[in-house]
Symmetry: C2
Subunit: 715 residues, 2 copies
């Protein structure tokens, strides 16, 4: 393994990963050293910790079983069925390696989630108390708490990819690793999403709407579950999701790189690892230098550190490209190194632009939010109609952006050589570029639930209005930044799955060559081929069905929890009146959210996976090519629509609450609350889970390519 | 023109069209001879007639200007720019013929709409009064009134296609005719859809929700506008829509037929005309034999006549195929005639199955409606979430159905010969088959608004509860059947646009050959080509933007009308109290609906057309191929979702009103009403307009193919 000319680059990637772990540990202790004195906060914070831990434990137990079954299936069937294996060494290097890689991917993803939750449920308490001394320390605690997650996720994804690729020397095995990360993410995101929205909606429905008690009121039996939900949905789920996207983008680039001519293969692989490492390095610098400015504006602090990271990445990779071009063995023909740099940086820039455009549709100082608030004056139906409409419109700029960045990368890299493989490699590097700042993105994103929790803790700990004002401001910055990062995450997933489509084609052609099959190599998927078309139409319907199942899951689960809350208010004497010493049974609500989420998530995930298998065994690789395309297109469209409509409704409600169009308590407000409730599972359950659904389906297809190639009904 | 071996088939088609006109005239007089005695009904009926006429006049005036501009542009630019023409005869036979065909298509579509409105606004009064003598005569009046529209639409589409094709002998000119029909349909459907939902929502919002007065209460200033809306939206708009689909399916089949080998071209063209003629004949027989059975169940009567028509079509075309195979010059190789028959009949069968599946999701005796009603107990947010979820799920069977019928037709017809052209021809014949019973479908569909109006007239004419019960039953049958016919219409449009994609490719290749261009002929559109991919992503976003613009249009317009209704109730003394002799100013509301609809429809239509031009001039024919695919896939998905969710909410509301889950006036009912209001523009404005949007975009692409081929930035 040390003969590989690229050993130095693997080691570089591993070292950067190690640096990020070290930095995460530093941040962890930095957060931990903030004082905690308030007993009530400690007590409630502990409840949240326990709830989150209980959910994670149960969830991982379910997923363990799923992963075990999947690992055995991989061992037996992938990449080729075990009975076709002629020697043990073949078996060990392929089927066994893939099964082990799969388990390793799932394990790393789970670990990153666990670490994130652990830190987040400490940082929330620390941030609440830090707010007593001002916005600056509270911001730093929240941000650094989130950054631990960011560093853990990106570090472990880079470490995993480098190790698996180095040890196996086989990009196909990497697909197994990526699938492990992805299948865990699918369930973590969907399960966490169902949990968090079940609790959120139920708490609001009974608390705010029926009883008129404030958010985070400790009398509400669902209040702890709601805070737990922020952690398991937004911290662990989102972390798993971006872990998955990140790994998938590296995997796609490496799978495509292995199809390149032998003379440039090593150089191309080196570029992937260097860019990935430099992206993480840029994120580390971005996080380390993030400061809340003189004006104490947290939104500006979060955004500006994102821009700083983007700039650092562009500069660092430019330097790396300059160095590469001075070494003949790493110089690609036709100025290829700079072309790839261009593709990567333009991917990143477009990602940032998409994030900013998305922001327009959800920002409460912009027209869409104002129009939805205004429409709410005519009743909730108009809240829904106008919010959905703007959500639909918001898909256009993002779709144009994704399409443009793919086109630019392709056109830039096509002249490097090969018959289009470099063009596909360019697209995959645009995805790597877009995801390079993901460490920063996760830090920003995990900041949200931490300060949201801190707000709840400040309320329950009776820290007073001044502190609440600070936590409110921090919370609102979290929501604003979330819109940007979500648009970014979807765009990055979009570009990644496009390159996964390329990876799928590479895998199929690889299988044709290796199997000595009398089939022409694939050069593409023709829309006019009815088998492809068949796949497209069915692939397009899957995201709709998948998100519907998740939403129905939230719906059913919330009905159960509302019934439980009603029961408690009825049966526990003195609870409604807030009698001292009377406490609701928080754990019952946590249990309902947990059990319901685990019950509802498996069918949705299975539908996506089984539909892929059905289409593949019916129509073979052509149908799957179409299936992936249809899935990508409708998945991106729906994800964007749901995330943006949801964010828009959320902010329209807040806009009304801040005194516009009748203000809090008016009929307009009630209508806006309906919009927000519809938007909750849109933006936090179904929308973001679609990212993962698309990736899982793409990976399953690549993994099964040999089987789909040889076993199918039509062609 | 008489040397054409197929003259006899053109004449056959024209004769069947003439027969359908004669039958329409008979039905018209049959409806007219029913007595009308109630003065109040006559008076209100007249107001509806005047309102509808006023809208149609204004709308046609706007469209006249649009069509004039489009005709001039066609004359100058299409199929090739005027300055490239070398002789006057070339100009006359292509550009001029196409411009004339365009105007003719728009004119015929407008005429069919006008006739439909004229009859519907008579039949509504007659049906109301006929209900006094029982359900049978009322049903017959409603159904036959609708059938006039059905016969007019299908007759004139067949007549137009036969004449244009016969006279020009050029399938490309037919594209001009089809585009004329389509551009009119786009605006008629969208404009009518905005009008009808503006009036419907506003009337309900102020009448039912705010004041608690019943539907169709004459004190409501919007009540006449609401009834006018049923006619202009559901009768004229829907007629234009299906006129368009029908013409487009013939056009696609004939364009593809002209690409076939000379030896089989005439036979294939003959088959198109014979199948089209027999489809209309089957519809005539179906309509003529429709009777409401002993049990007086109108739903069963409507459905069974649809099945009868389906059966007759299958038998008639089988006989025709038998005859064709006895004539050597009309016998296709490899049992081709029977293969085409199979494709066509399977298309029709699958269309019916899709209709029935759709019905499951909207039928009030099935689970989805019950679940949405139950979810409404937790508030309107859950009505929306559950309704949307089932709407999403409902797309899957329809997508599978469309995909399967395309695949079956392709596989059946591929062996006939050629290099895939026959397979595409098979798909286009599946679309022709699916649309063969469209005469029956339109009759059923136009029946709905007529009996809906009749219900309103019976209420306003004080005909008593017994009569209202009958009209209610007729109305409810209309709603049930509507769900089936809508699913059918969307599926048919889907299959049609797939064949239009084939037609587009034929046109491009034709342009390459004719222009002597040094470009390889297209064999398909490769997903992995980033230009195609670019087109796909943007094409997929357009239906979302288009439907959002229409919904926002309804939203804005309804806000204006609600303000006007409030003004009238405030300023007109005695109106709210129902003082004798005090009447609201109905015409003001009609004016608002009319002006608003016309103002809102143009931008949405232009966005679709301009986006096509932009993509075509940026990426050329490859980008357009992708654009069409993306547009078809997301258009079908959204159309299906919106229509079905809308129908589901409508029926869930009615289910609650019939006494379930709390019944009328309960909070559950209020939540269900919110769902219904959201569903209104979903199912009657945006959803069905998407059909037409897809067709228009496909036709624009085919028409512009030469220009896109030669003028573009990327490739």
């Amino acid at each position: 393994m040390f003969q590989d000319p690229n050993v130095i680059y693997y080691i570089f990637a591993i070292l950067v990963a190690a640096l990020s772990f070290a930095f995460a540990v530093y941040l962890y202790f930095n957060v931990k050293k903030y004082p905690s004195t308030n007993e009530r906060i400690a007590q409630v914070g502990k409840l949240i910790q326990q709830g989150a831990r209980a959910f994670m434990k149960k969830e991982y137990r379910v997923l363990l079983r799923f992963c075990a079954v999947a690992a055995i299936l991989i061992l037996v069937f992938l990449p080729s069925p075990i009975w076709q294996r002629t020697s043990f060494s073949e078996l060990a290097t392929e089927n066994l390696a893939m099964a082990i890689a799969y388990v390793f991917g799932a394990f790393l993803s789970a670990m990153a989630g666990k670490i994130g939750i652990k830190v987040a449920t400490i940082a929330n308490m620390k941030a609440a108390e830090a707010a007593k001394t001002g916005i600056k320390p509270a911001f730093m605690v929240g941000f650094r708490g989130g950054a631990v997650m960011g560093m853990a996720v990106v570090g472990s994804s880079l470490l995993g990819v480098a190790l698996v690729f180095w040890l196996s020397g086989n990009a196909s095995v990497l697909l197994g690793f990526s699938f492990g990360a992805s299948s865990l993410a699918l369930f973590a995101k969907a399960g966490g999403g169902i949990f968090t929205k079940t609790a959120d909606i139920s708490a609001d429905l009974v608390g705010k709407v029926e009883l008129g008690i404030p958010e985070d009121d400790p009398r509400n039996p669902a209040v702890i579950a709601d805070n737990v939900g922020d952690n398991v949905g937004d911290v662990a789920g989102m972390g798993a999701d971006l872990f998955d996207s990140n790994v998938a983008s590296f995997t796609a680039a490496l799978v495509i790189a292995t199809t390149l001519a032998a003379s440039v293969r090593a150089a191309s692989e080196a570029i992937v690892f260097v860019y990935a490492g430099l992206g993480l390095l840029a994120s580390i610098i971005g996080v380390a230098t993030a400061r809340i400015g003189k004006h104490g504006n947290p939104t500006r602090a979060l955004n500006s550190s994102t821009y700083v990271t983007t700039g650092i990445f562009a500069v660092l990779t430019a330097i790396a490209t300059f160095v590469f071009t001075s070494m003949p063995q790493y110089t690609l023909p036709n100025g290829g190194n700079w072309r790839i740099w261009g593709a990567s940086v333009s991917g990143l820039l477009i990602g940032v632009i998409i994030g900013i455009t998305t922001d327009y549709f959800t920002d409460d100082s912009k027209k869409p939010v104002h129009m939805v608030a205004k429409a709410s004056k005519s009743g909730p139906a108009f809240t829904i109609l106008s919010g959905m409409s703007y959500g639909f419109i918001s898909t256009l700029p993002a779709m144009i952006g994704i399409a443009a960045s793919a086109l630019i990368a392709y056109k830039l890299c096509y002249p490097i050589g090969g018959s289009g493989e470099y063009a596909m490699f360019g697209i995959s590097m645009a995805a790597v570029g877009m995801l390079s700042i993901v460490g920063m993105i996760i830090s920003n994103d995990a900041y949200g639930p931490i300060v949201d929790n801190a707000r709840g803790l400040a309320e329950m700990g009776n820290l007073g209005d001044e502190v609440l004002e600070i936590t409110d401001e921090l919370d609102s910055a979290g929501n604003t930044v979330k819109a940007v990062t979500k648009g970014f995450a979807i765009a990055a997933a979009g570009l990644t799955v496009i390159s996964l489509l390329g990876a799928f084609m590479s895998e199929v052609n690889d299988a044709i060559v290796k199997g000595g099959l009398a089939i022409e190599k694939l050069t593409g998927f023709d829309i006019m081929n009815p088998t492809v078309f068949f796949g497209i139409l069915i692939g397009a319907a899957i995201p709709a069905v998948f998100s519907a199942m998740l939403m129905l899951g939230v719906d059913r689960n919330a009905q159960r929890m509302v019934a439980e809350i009603h029961r408690q208010f009825k049966e526990i004497v003195g609870l409604k009146e807030g009698k001292a010493g009377v406490e609701p049974e928080y754990d019952k609500c946590i249990e309902i959210a947990t059990d319901g989420a685990l019950k509802e998530l498996i069918p949705a995930g299975l539908v996506a996976i089984l539909a892929t298998l059905a289409v593949g065994f019916i129509g073979g690789v052509h149908a799957i090519g179409g299936f992936l395309l249809g899935n990508i297109v409708s998945g991106l469209l729906l994800a964007m629509f749901m995330s943006n409509s949801g964010g828009l409704w959320d902010n329209a409600k807040k806009y009304v609450e801040s005194g516009h169009e009748g203000g809090k308590g008016s009929d307009t407000h009630k209508a806006a609350v309906v919009g927000d409730t519809v938007g909750d599972p849109f933006k936090d359950t179904a929308g973001p889970s679609l990212n993962t659904q698309i990736t899982v389906v793409s990976l399953v297809s690549s993994l099964m390519s040999t089987l789909f190639l040889t076993l199918h009904i039509f062609n």
